[in-house]
Each structure stands twice: as C-alpha cells, then as structure tokens.
Amino acid sequence: MDSQSVAAQTVETGHIEHEHPPFLRHHFENVAQQREAATFGMWLFLLTEIMFFGGLFCAYLIFRNWYYPAFVAGSHSLHIWAGTLNTTLLIISSFTMAMAVHAAETRVRRSLMGWMIVTIILGCGFLCVKAYEWHDEWVEHHVPGLNFNPATLEHGTKAYPDDTLAPDMAQKTSVYFSLYFAMTGMHALHMIIGVSLLTILLIGAYKGKYVDGHVAPIENFGLYWHFVDIVWIFLFPLLYLISRHQ
C-alpha cells in the first residue's frame, strides 16, 4: 500500500494509521487492550484444559478408592527419584520461562533467546526421564493393552515385599497403569507441543520479534508452559508419593 497516500488520508480522517506499531490489530484500541484480550483468551483455553485434566484426576481418585491395594502396588512400582527429578526440571523450566517473559518485556533479545533455549533443554530433559520410565514399565510388563502381565504384581517388589495381591486385585493394577499412561501421556504430549511451539517462537526471537513491545506470544506461551507445570505438580504426588506408606 502506498504509505504516502495512507498518511495523507489519516490526517484527513483523524485515523492514526501510522501512530501504532505494526502488530496492533485494527479492532483494538491500543497495545495494552490487545494484550489484555489475548491474555483473557489464553486463560479461557487453559480453563478448558483444567477441565480436561481435571476429569482424569477425578477418575484417578475414584478408581484409587475402589481398587486401593492395586493402586498402592502400582504406585510402589514407580521410581520416586525419577518423579522428583522431573518435578525439579519442570519447576526450573517454569522459572526460566518466566525469565524469558521478563526478557521480552524489558526488550533484551539475547537473554530472551538464552532463557528460551534453556527452557527447551529442560523440557527435553523432562521428556527423556519420562521416556526412561516408560521403557522401564515396558520391560516390567506394566503397559495395559500392549504387554500387561498382572502376575508381575502379585508377589510384591524388591522394595515392597509385602505388596502381595490376590489375582483379581492384581488384575486391577491395569486400571492404575491405564490412568498412569493416560495422564503422563497427555502431559508429555502437552510438553512435546510446548517444546515445538517454543522452538518456533525461538526462531521468531532470532529474527528479532517479541522485543518490540509485542510480548503477547511469549507471555501466552509462558501461561501454557506454567499450566503444564501445574498439571505435573499434581501428578507427582498423586502417582508417586501419596501411596508410599500404605
């Protein structure tokens, strides 16, 4: 479009076409309002995500109540160190993502990219630990639908020799592991999506985006990343911790 004619036109009409940054959409009054609308929309999306994961948590609590010994034995078969390590990795990644948002707000491109890269590395580290755990569960025949063998849970484990289950209750550990894989699987899918989006944003940051006042993409991605962290903050005690002494 011919910028000269537009500029002339705006003087006539009073429409300040060139007074606003290029990322401000026309239906918003100003950048702050646009950012507020984006935050509002992002939170609405996250609330649907809360309902989605909430349904899984609810199912977990109800089935844990029904098949309590099976859930305790299932929980005992997990590595508590892996869960703790992953919680630590995710919390640090939430911190680095918060710092990335801060770097975008203060418009420092190098630190924005640096914090994003660290966040990506920590996210990948989480997925590696998770993959190690899943592999372990595969080896132990704890994957329902693929190689599940309830007999492995009838006679207790090395760490918990008292975890003897009757064959029918041992069969119910498949419910524990189904929910375990559904919940950690959906969470890991969110992590994979998060790492992918963050890589795309990193390319944008490399090209100089997000440090010109257009913080909303980074900020809203931050909201998503922190949400995924919160899901894990609840998965960790429910799957790994609360049945330890039962």
Partner: protein, 121 residues
C-alpha cells in the same frame, strides 16, 4: 510508550461508539527477576519437602500433606509466574470462576460416588 500512545489516541480520536473513555486495561506491571527467583526457589523447597514427607508414615495424612503442598505450589505458580497477582480484574475473575467451576464439578462428582454406598462400608 504505551501509555503515551493511549493518551494520544483518546485525546485525538474518541471512538464514536465508546462513549466516555474508560480504562480498558490494567496498568502493566513487569515482575522483577528477584521475585521469580524467590518463587522458583520456594517451589524447589516445597518439592524437596513433599518428597521428604512421603518417606514419613503419616497414615491418611500423607495424601493430605502432599496435596496441600501441591496446592501451595500451584498458587505460587498461578500468582507469580502466571502474573495473576498483577493482572486485571477481568483476568483474575476469569481464573477464579474457572477454578470455582472446577471445584464444583469435582465436589459433586465425588459426593455422588461417596454417597452411593452410604452406610454399607
């Protein structure tokens, strides 16, 4: 800069449909790295605590303590990392409504399941 721009906008182009100009947003607040560092460190301390407590036999209270710590951690993340403490009333109300609705759904579902076998334990 944004402030100036908004001022400029309202001064010269009052929107015909808007009526008297009213604040459409909350004053932007940039959270300092110090706050992020304190919150991050607290979250790590809570993680260490919840793992350590799980090794202590508290009976039923193992679950209560673990979930209470998880709730505290969630609050810290939501308030500081997700900026809700510094957000507009619209955002805070949205978040509060969402959590309230979620609690209602969970509570009613649980109430149903708990009361089905009432007295037959």
């Amino acid at each position: 800069m944004e402030q100036q721009q908004e001022h400029h906008h309202h001064l010269h182009v009052p929107h015909p449909d808007m009526g008297p100009s009213e604040p459409t947003h909350h004053e932007e607040h940039i959270v300092t790295p110090k706050v992020y560092l304190i919150v991050g460190a607290s979250l790590l301390v809570f993680t260490a605590t919840t793992t350590a407590v799980s090794y202590v036999d508290l009976g039923e209270f193992n679950a209560v303590v673990a979930l209470a710590i998880a709730c505290i951690k969630m609050s810290l993340v939501v308030l500081f990392f997700m900026h809700v403490k510094y957000s507009s009333k619209l955002t805070r109300l949205t978040v509060a409504c969402g959590f309230f609705t979620f609690l209602v759904l969970i509570t009613m579902t649980m109430t149903d399941y708990i009361s089905r076998a009432w007295g037959r334990w």
